[in-house]
Symmetry: D2
Subunit: 332 residues, 4 copies
């Protein structure tokens, strides 16, 4: 059973928008994201690199931040969402504060007024209504490189309490395109605001952790071309899984790990979900088609690993272990 969705939520998140990641070696990560994924550098300095996809008018969808001492590389600072109106931010501030959740105004370069909050499991979120814009580069095809990644599409987070977190985001107006149940237990909620399949996937696992963030590719042909480019560059160790297709959301995917181990899904193919009157698609835990529509296996690392997330007041959120034992049959 899915929790009820508030179709007129208190404030309006419009889409998943940007990720801030800690990286150990800024130059190396910059090279990975520009030459392999094909992201474009909008701005950079000694400590941070702001990147956007080829179709994106927003200043950045990925911010790489040089990690300081203490092995923070491979951790996720925060994930960002856009709201439609400035006043949504004020409503959001009160909403989180009223629930006893952390909320504070923050200063974020190239963005409008920015609110930092945490969801109930401790994922650090960043909300803003506006961002500086830059020209879209989608038809500057001669500048496209690597996978020609077009835009940030969604995040996937892991938590031992899938239902609880799904209920929290349902109250914020996130609807489910699809979901995964085992008996009565909700194990995966594939939630969206922007009218496609996903802005936030919530999947059962030890958490809170960021399982992956996803960029959209312009075409199926880019998936195998990306594999080829990685092979030519002797970089196929970056490929963790795929190419393959998920039954859930129809994603034709390839999963990479960046130099710090952050996981990126490159994918194409989904569907529109604007109308509220359709039934979310229900998947059963034992139906391997949800994960691997073409058959085959997922590696254990894909199932078990994820990036730690930064705590609201610094440091990293302690991971609560999942009580579920064993691995699905498609994991090897």
């Amino acid at each position: 059973m899915l929790p009820p969705v508030d179709l007129r939520p208190p404030f309006g998140i419009s889409r998943s928008s940007h990720a801030r990641l800690c990286v150990t070696d800024l130059a190396r990560s910059r090279d990975f994201y520009t030459s392999i994924l094909g992201l474009v550098v909008t701005e950079e300095d000694a400590d941070a690199c702001y990147l956007r996809g080829l179709e994106e008018a927003c200043h950045h969808s990925l911010v790489l931040q040089r990690s300081g001492e203490g092995g923070e590389g491979g951790t996720a600072r925060r994930i960002g969402f856009r709201v439609l109106f400035e006043e949504d931010l004020d409503v959001a501030y009160r909403y989180f504060a009223d629930q006893g959740l952390p909320a504070a105004w923050a200063d974020a370069p190239y963005q409008g007024r920015t609110l930092h909050v945490s969801d109930p499991i401790g994922t650090s979120l960043e909300l803003c209504a506006t961002m500086e814009t830059r020209p879209r580069l989608h038809i500057d095809f001669d500048l496209h490189k690597g996978a020609s990644a077009q835009r940030l599409d969604h995040f996937q987070v892991l938590t031992p309490d899938t239902y609880g977190l799904c209920a929290f985001y349902s109250a914020l107006g996130f609807r489910n395109s699809e979901y995964l149940e085992h008996g009565e237990e909700l194990l995966g909620a594939f939630m969206y605001r922007k009218g496609t399949c996903l802005d936030l996937a919530i999947v059962h696992g030890s958490g809170p952790r960021l399982h992956h963030f996803a960029y959209w590719l312009p075409d199926g042909a880019r998936v195998s071309q990306l594999c080829d480019i990685l092979a030519g560059a002797y970089e196929t160790d970056r490929i963790e899984r795929g190419p393959g297709r998920h039954g859930i959301t129809n994603a034709y995917f390839l999963y990479l790990r960046d130099p710090d181990g952050h996981r990126i899904e490159l994918y194409t193919s989904d569907y529109l979900s604007v109308d509220p009157d359709f039934e979310p698609i229900r998947w059963n835990l034992h139906d391997s088609r949800r994960q691997a529509l073409w058959g085959g296996h997922a590696p254990k690392s894909w199932f078990l690993e994820g990036s730690l997330v930064e705590a609201f007041d610094g440091g990293w959120v302690k991971v609560e272990e999942s009580e579920l034992q064993g691995l699905p049959a498609y994991v090897r």
Copy 2:
């Protein structure tokens, strides 16, 4: 200059949803849309055929209606939009009535409460909040045929008063992803509600007429495959233009004419446009890249022809001629 957009419109249209077309030979048109486009028949009887795209959960996105006496084949009955909530329909009724525009409740099978209205140039519209649903067939790949058309995406209408019609839809919350100007004169407005590039393209020309409706293809590979299938079937007379790419919206397109001459755009590639803070892309009339990014020419028929639209009280809306003379350089 673009007219101002009401970002908090009086009622909420969520997307372009469905088209109702008159066809002379129902069986012939049904065959065209199922075997060539790959649409699926949800329901049909002697007088009408209800079709949907492979990813669509809604009951229909295209309704073919057998035309009666009098040569109505090749005319468009009406174009449909969805609103998010039932009460939007009531607000919409008053909104149109208050402006002296036609508005009446209608009975439309398989749809919820349905409102018929006309826009200021006489295009017949149909609004509803709900429709019966059916399972999406997007991963039933063994059933896919022809172009594997996924979903209705948008309409393009022709009018001699582009600015006026753009202003009308701007007041309903339609935003522009891109637009075409010649000096100060607005000649094309590419408007959307659902967060992609288009729900309604308004282009200068004698009107009101329906220039085309568009279905989304899953992949660039399908464009050339569709050409091949049409060639194998000795049906390339159906191809009016393409394959090619529009600079506007980045659409990789193929235009077909159905057995009654209705024009369909099959296309893939666009971009997301959820954020309200980017500048719409402005194109100049003399920049041929907007229409034909790869160069080449458009046939005169593509530039000059379109489907008549049904008047609110029956019969067909009289076409007002455009005062502009001459053809753009890319038309031959």
Copy 3:
């Protein structure tokens, strides 16, 4: 070290041409090869089905033969090669007979004069100069189904004596495009006559067995489309390996097992090899790129299983075990 190639061989084999397979259930196998691979039935009767690829003018490239009593399903009757001239057949007859290898004239429907022979490890071969022809169907795109398999491309056989078998075919003018060595030991010879990368791959393993036969796909897009079609039909158990790319020959591949377990490679991408003055590409056993250019693993079944081959005088050739122990690192 590769054995010397006779560039002016005693008789001229021009290409790998056709396979004859035993199948348990003729109707079921026919359905697999026509609806999944997209082969076309040229002729059929109660005991045999003659199929060809979409571009093939030859009467058949695959003959399915209903197996009799005794569990012959899943065995390969023989593999066929074409010679350019009738007199090549006579020279071939003497050549095999002079070497003490089996050779006999046979009656093969739809083929010209046909010679049955065995190579030194017992693989049953069939040679002919002519075959009835039928129109190529390559541009009848409206008839194409499934993977749209275009043509038979090559065979791969397993033998414990790679060097010996490679030497035998080198004397018949087969050249190597690529080869695999471990130290001084030849473990794989990728041999051709027709000017592409392959007509016959000889790979180390318990043998003689037929590892697979391969059909060429028209395009990379067909590989993922075939996966999708199999998924839609709940037939992904047929997928044994892939999609992936071999470094050897550059094949973008998918391996299927037919209802009797025969292995088929569907692939696209190779290169021309007409000139005799280039060096074959040498691969080292420990370079996983030869097998899996994109990384990932091959299943044990792909490495270990193959079809038994019919003996010259009936029954099945006894398999000689390979003395090599262990599995390469990319096999799991």
Copy 4:
């Protein structure tokens, strides 16, 4: 009616191999062929640039030579074929000399012994058996650029005497995959040696002229990607025709003109033609499918223009006008 083919020709041409073109601005042409087509520079100096395709082991398939005074840019110096054996060159020398055709030994860097000859209409040919080799770069995908052109595939020449020239090459063992007739008159002969559809297309027109040379692309996806890259670089003036598909040979094509006006066909899709026992496909002049399987038109320039060819003793071969009047219906 086609002239008879000598299946055991006096000497063995194995394939079309390389082209030598005059160019006005060597740096500009080098940039076009490397960044747009994706060819690789094997060697270059102030007067010549030697290029090869990504899969080619031969030293060069295209030689750009800086033209001297007198407006030679846009002319074709000669087209090259490979023979299999050194002694073929000696036989060829005598064969041409015996027929009173020009023949002389030449010095050609990076090639083995090289023979210069002219065919009966004056096309300058270059024959050699060997060439220096370089590593194939087909799996060095990270180095691929632009169209990723893989290999030179064929030439198309124009002549007013199609039958005569076809007869000449038929005597050298070139077979027809397809041909074009109007009544009894042969207007196009699509001839090959290497077992695919084409090495030399002979088409009716004022001549001798080189209509185009063709490079093979790895995949259909590259055709539209090449259009995109040209659009991004504001270079679509280079596109003369396409994308489209020829019924003849099934080529999915794009025709470009280089900075000097030389025409290049970039294409993928053909078929194998090794067996001598199939019937060449006959096309009728009035069947537009042969030229434009998807419908549409060819521009006049494509029909009427071509590169002059160098005469054996220098200067340019005088063009003999075709006596045929009018343009086919598909030309505009």
